[in-house]
Amino acid sequence: MLQARLAPSRTAALSAAGAAAFLGLWSVAALAGITSRDFLPAPWDVAERFAQLVVEPFAGYTLLQHLLSSFQRFATGFVLAVVVGIPLGLLMAWFRWIDRIVSPAFDAVRFVAPIAWVPFAALWFGTGIGGPVLIIFMGAFPPVLINTYRGAKNVDRKYVEAAQMLGASHLRAMTQVLLPAAVPSIVAGLRISAGLGWQSLVGAELIVASSGVGYLMVKGQASVSTATVMSGMVAIGMVGIAIDVALRRVQQHIETRRGH
């Protein structure tokens, strides 16, 4: 039998023990003097470095400025993926011939890891904003398209037939029948796509950028400042969580409005 639920106090105690063990081992390893503290900083060194990065500029900007420029790139790529992905998904679901043309090309491109677009991004856009945006787009686009398409394809046949019988135009059928029915699936896709887009952004910034959290981490790596690199990881993780929480709010809002 699956173990019964633990008392909340016991769960809390165990969790605290787990966290303490992790931080304790880490601190002992850092303090043991096997390597230098630059190489393996203690947890509080990372916290201190993080606080310092918020105030003092590193690699040209403070941590918040780096985050802001990362977020702008992310938002551009993500919005672009949404603006292209949703209409294209609806078109593919409504017109079979578009589906037949786009699907094979899409499947072929999807297997190329977003990060593999880096050389072309550099070739086409240099160090401008276009490069990272292209890479984010390549990461964020597939889930939007796939979920819009699946959501629109799963619409109850009745509604499609009713719309056709009442003489709805293609555009009206797509915007007023397919789109509303696909919304839950689309929003689920947006969450996946935001996550993947944010990840691809970090990869892009490791290679083609001169600002942003990824760039900050590369600079930290170059000066063998592990604390800087770890601060970057923490910042990336926190923004990633914030994006996901925001989109989950949207999802819950839509689901309650639809009475799920």
Binding site: L2, A16, P104, F111, A116, M217, G220, M238
Partner: protein
């Protein structure tokens, strides 16, 4: 009658695919080489790509021939993926089966989970340099998280009556894992493995792009530095084809392990 019909169907499908491919190459040729609408400096012509393939396959490019790069990258991913997912699946199953383990491990896991796989690359380079060790570390973290999460949810999704039956029949110990937990969680485990494999492949290519001696990412990196669009495309296609074959391998494994699952 049926097999013959099936063969004919397959032949038709193959012909259609071939015709589609040929027309794509033709349009591509027209756009780049003939009309110059797309400048060859930005996107290669089909002929250039053919020459680049010949060059890398026979003479080698960027410290090795194509099969050497492929073997290196695929070998690294396979090793890292097998290592990380076996640790991840066992941990995920343990977290699913025991609330004590779950409570103990969860805080650490929650700390690691939001960090994107690619964000481990700079840390791996600081700690382990540009060699295979750093690649393994990066792949490990990429593959670890999805396999833990999905094995965990897999156990939690097993129907309650199955646990009750197991308890009634006094199934415990190794048999409990082998006959209850693992088979029940398998579909979800494989979802996790697929995500893990994808993440490890992407992350490895990224890590090789940042710095490596050989491998598919290194081809991309070198071709970008040489401003060699045809070789960039060859690198991208190789990345896609290898990723596709590895996914197929996993699908095959899934069918072999779960013969009862409807196709």
């Amino acid at each position: 009658m049926q097999p013959r019909g099936k063969t004919r169907h397959l032949l038709t499908a193959a012909a259609v695919t071939l015709a589609a491919l040929a027309s794509v190459v033709l349009v591509w040729h027209l756009l780049t080489a003939v009309s110059g609408i797309i400048s060859p400096a930005r996107f290669p012509t089909p002929l250039e790509v053919g020459l680049a393939v010949r060059q890398i396959a026979f003479d080698g490019y960027s410290n090795g021939r194509l099969h050497e790069h492929v073997l290196r990258s695929v070998g690294l991913v396979t090793m890292g993926f097998v290592l990380a997912s076996s640790v991840g699946v066992v941990l995920g199953l343990a977290m699913g089966a025991s609330r004590t383990v779950e409570a103990l491990v969860n805080p650490v896991f929650l700390l690691l989970r939001p960090i994107p796989p690619l964000a481990w690359i700079p840390l791996a380079i600081v700690w382990l340099g540009l060699g295979n060790g750093a690649k393994m570390m990066v792949i490990f973290f990429a593959a670890f998280v999805p396999s833990v999460i999905n094995s965990y949810t897999g156990v939690r999704q097993i129907d309650k009556p199955i646990f009750e039956a197991a308890a009634m029949l006094d199934v415990r110990g190794w048999r409990y894992w082998r006959e209850v937990l693992i088979p029940g969680a398998l579909p979800s485990i494989f979802t996790g493995l697929r995500l893990s494999l994808q993440a490890s492949w992407t992350t490895l290519v990224a890590a090789e792009l940042v710095g490596a001696v050989a491998g598919l990412g290194q081809i991309l990196n070198q071709a970008a530095q040489d401003i060699y669009p045809a070789m960039i495309l060859v690198g991208m296609i190789s990345v896609a084809v290898c990723g596709w074959f590895m996914t197929l391998g996993l699908v095959w494994l899934e069918r072999a392990v779960m013969p009862w699952k409807p196709r």
